[in-house]
């Protein structure tokens, strides 16, 4: 799980081109959207594409998205639960 969280930190930074953010800046329980990272709904949609592409997990509606993208932990938990891929 720690691996997935670390991996996700890097993927978020790369996908969203957060040049001034270091992986450790993204706390596990830190609010992802509307928080200090400055992410908004378009960023969430960009991450949705990345997650479907890389983990084969669909997050195809706003309500689900709001829940899943609450923080890094909720996001990685959801991916770990739903992904058909071996994430260990």
């Amino acid at each position: 799980m720690t691996n997935l969280i670390d991996e996700m930190r890097i993927k978020i930074i790369d996908t969203l081109k957060l040049e001034d953010v270091a992986p450790e800046d993204i706390g596990e329980d830190e609010q992802l959207v509307g928080g200090e990272l400055g992410l908004d709904s378009i960023d969430v949609l960009e991450l949705v594409i990345m997650i479907e592409k890389d983990y084969a997990v669909k997050i195809d509606n706003k309500e689900l998205g709001a829940r899943v993208f609450a923080n890094l932990k909720t996001l990685t938990d959801y991916i770990a639960e739903k992904s058909p891929k071996d994430l260990s």
Binding site: L16, D20, I42, N61
Partner: protein
């Protein structure tokens, strides 16, 4: 005082519901829907949702679908009358994209097959087919394009210089919009249900709506239907989501009512933008209630019936609105079943038959652009006096070329050296905060840099309130990257960020957010004359106040797409890009260069175009008295023709001052003329054309102005003057 009214003399419509106004009207009143399966291109099995596809038999294999839809609607609007319009104004965003996508997918690299890619090529094709010699202008402001085009056409008529204008919008379905809206999760899988409690989004569709508009004076026939008022604003809120309070939408509707000189109580029906997305319908409902204060007129959205034809939709709905007045009826809100308490809005569930004299029609879009039109019978029987194009004076300048920013470019240019080339992305991003531009690619970065540069150069406190930007080819990086990812993933994945950034007006929308500029936000596109279109639009549409406005031109070079799309780029060895920005104020007085478009005609089958230019400038003596130098725009691809035009002009005008072939210095890109306008303004300040540019000796301007000529497939003239702008 001469009263000029914008009379609707013809209507044309093609939508997924059918071909022609009558067929559409019958289907609309029945509550039919044209939403169904996509057949135009294949999609992966699990990506499937309804679209609005036009079922009409198209006639011309080699012509992109958007152009064909435009021709169908235009022919109906002109009603078989074989008189060329004086101007063509079209709203479109994707232009020839559907065809370009097929070609890029097949990795076709023959540039001749991309000759109708440009959004501007739709208006140019129509103008050529209809033998229109006047300007063919394209507004590309995403989903408000068609309505904004109508507003510009009305403004052109009210100058008194045009009699008949074909105006409208056209858009065909393509992968970009189909997958783009899907990536934004803005599609309703059951088909659009605008205003319904359970709505999930829009249905992407295609179509065209056209009007023949005529300038009329004198007492109107009581049955005549006119565009009575127009309102253009910008949310300056978000690139793709409406201001949740609907402030921009409210201001556009209110502006249209004020322009029509009527109160909200006179509106008999509102044709809502009503896309069916949760956010649009919420914001629009708020604006609607604020405007009507509880005395709400009947309203409906037709997007459950015809889908959302994006840039065409504002024109399609303007045509439907005009027909509501003509027929004394209004269409139901197809797809609507359950009231949404959050909207507190009950749209028409069945067709309404009632005397409808005045309709308000809305179109809002990406980039925050809002356009509202008031269409109806003229209650007062009179219109406005002439509204000549405004005059502006420059308060701040900026440009970007391969040589650098304004001061670097000016220094290099004054030494008679080339400024060709392009700056690195890092270089153009330097003045911009990395966080604010992390999602932006080259064109938006160029635009923001230019806008900030002009504002800083002006050194004033008042921020610009409106933005007029011309771009020949739009956001090529985003378009390219969107399609690249789509094709690399077998059409499964595409970037929502690139989709939002790919619309031509993304850059101007970004600039509006930066400056909180809530006035008109217009992006024009028409190859090498895109900047001139932006300047002309500004002169016609800028608000009548003292707030500064930005008029700009910018283009990016893209290594794969630019040589395919822009024939002049293919002729040059030094890829170049950049742009220019002029921060200006409306005024008759004040110091600073006065700038304005003084001539705009097509050169196509127009043998007397240069004579017309000489006449428009007041003849030989006046030209010699007014202008001390010429900046001539000779695009490489039409250099021979341009040179002939220039020689003919110089001979007819007897002009003997310096003529600077500015593309040799600035480079080959569509909006090079924006840089030339900036350099011209700077040259005027020095009052002299240095020997490095004038060939032999320094040539003093002696208080005369500079004429900026655009040559090639169109002939345009912009006057740069320290005196009064000559119009």
């Amino acid at each position: 005082m001469i009263d000029i009214r914008a009379v609707i003399a013809g209507l044309g419509l093609v939508t997924p519901l059918g071909n022609g106004v009558e067929q559409n009207w019958a289907a609309l009143l029945r509550g039919s829907t044209g939403n169904g399966n996509l057949t135009l291109f294949p999609t992966p099995d699990d990506i499937s949702f309804p679209v609005g596809e036009v079922a009409v038999q198209l006639f011309h294999e080699g012509l992109p679908r958007t152009h064909q839809l435009a021709v169908i609607a235009a022919k109906e609007a002109l009603g078989g009358i074989n008189i060329a319009p004086d101007a063509v104004v079209i709203g479109t965003t994707t232009g020839g994209m559907s065809r370009t996508e097929d070609l890029l997918k097949k990795k076709v690299s023959d540039p001749s097959l991309f000759s109708r890619h440009g959004a501007g090529s739709v208006a140019e094709y129509l103008a050529s087919e209809l033998r229109c010699r006047g300007p063919a202008i394209t507004i590309s402001t995403a989903c408000s394009s068609g309505a904004a085009a109508m507003a510009l056409a009305v403004a052109l008529l009210k100058t008194g210089q045009f009699q008949r204008i074909l105006a409208g919008g056209a858009e065909s379905l393509c992968r970009l919009t189909y997958h783009g809206f899907n990536s934004l999760q803005l599609i309703d899988p059951k088909g659009a249900r605008p205003l319904d409690r359970d709505r999930k989004g829009l249905t992407v569709s295609e179509g065209a709506g056209m009007m023949l508009l005529m300038a009329e004076t004198g007492i109107p026939d009581p049955e005549t239907i006119e565009i009575l008022g127009t309102g253009l604003t910008c949310d300056a809120h978000h690139p793709a989501s409406p201001d949740p309070e609907g402030n921009g939408a409210f201001k556009a509707m209110k502006g249209a009512l004020e322009d029509a000189d009527i109160t909200a109580s006179k509106i008999d029906y509102v044709n809502l933008h009503g896309t069916g997305t949760i956010d649009n319908d919420l914001a629009e409902a708020k604006a609607f209630h604020r405007l009507f204060h509880g005395k709400t007129p009947p309203c409906s959205s037709i997007k459950g019936a015809v889908g959302h034809s994006l840039s065409a939709s504002g024109a399609v709905e303007a045509v439907v609105s005009a027909n509501c007045v003509k027929k004394g009826a209004a269409p139901p809100n197809t797809g609507y079943l359950t009231p949404d308490p959050r909207l507190n809005l009950r749209p028409l569930e069945e067709a309404l038959e009632a005397p409808i004299k005045t309709v308000l029609s809305n179109a809002f879009g990406f980039g925050g652009g809002n356009a509202s039109l008031v269409i109806g019978k003229n209650p007062k029987g009179r219109g406005d006096g002439l509204r000549p194009p405004a005059t502006f004076h420059v308060v701040g300048l900026a440009c970007i070329t391969g040589a650098g920013d304004l001061s670097q470019t000016l220094k290099t240019f004054m030494q008679g050296r080339s400024c060709q080339g392009r700056l690195s992305n890092e270089e153009i991003s330097k003045p911009l905060s990395s966080r604010s531009v992390r999602r932006l690619k080259r064109l938006s970065r160029l635009g923001l840099n230019l806008a900030e540069g002009a504002f800083k150069h002006a050194g004033i406190e008042n921020r610009p309130d409106s933005v007029f930007l011309g771009t020949g080819w739009g956001a090529l990086s985003e378009t390219h990257d969107f399609l690249k990812q789509l094709y690399e993933t077998e059409e499964r994945f595409s970037s929502p960020t690139d989709f939002i950034g790919s619309v031509h007006n993304a850059t101007a929308g970004r600039i509006a957010i930066k400056f909180n500029a809530r006035g008109p936000n217009i992006t024009t596109t028409g190859g090498d004359h895109s900047f001139e279109q932006a300047l002309l639009s500004a002169q016609l549409l800028a608000e009548d106040d003292e707030a500064p406005l930005l008029v700009m031109g910018a283009d990016e070079f893209h290594p794969e797409l630019s040589p395919l799309f822009d024939p002049s780029v293919r002729e040059t060895e030094t890829p170049s890009d950049g742009g220019g920005a002029l921060l200006m104020r409306r005024s008759e007085s004040g110091s600073g260069t006065k700038v304005g478009v003084v001539f705009y005609e097509s050169a196509n089958e127009n043998p007397l175009v240069m004579e017309a230019l000489v006449n428009a400038l007041g003849g030989t003596e006046k030209i010699a008295a007014d202008f001390g130098a010429i900046l001539a725009g000779l695009p490489a691809a039409s250099r021979m023709e341009g040179k002939k035009q220039l020689d003919s002009f110089l001979k007819m005008a007897g002009f003997s001052g310096p003529v600077i072939d500015y593309r040799k210095y600035v480079g080959e890109f569509a909006s090079a003329s924006a840089v030339a306008a900036v350099l011209g303004s700077a040259l005027l300040k020095t009052s002299v054309i240095p020997d490095t540019l004038a060939k032999d000796n320094d040539v003093p301007l002696n208080g005369k102005g500079i004429l900026l000529l655009g040559l090639g497939n169109c002939v345009t003239a912009v006057s740069l003057h320290d005196g009064k702008v000559k119009t």
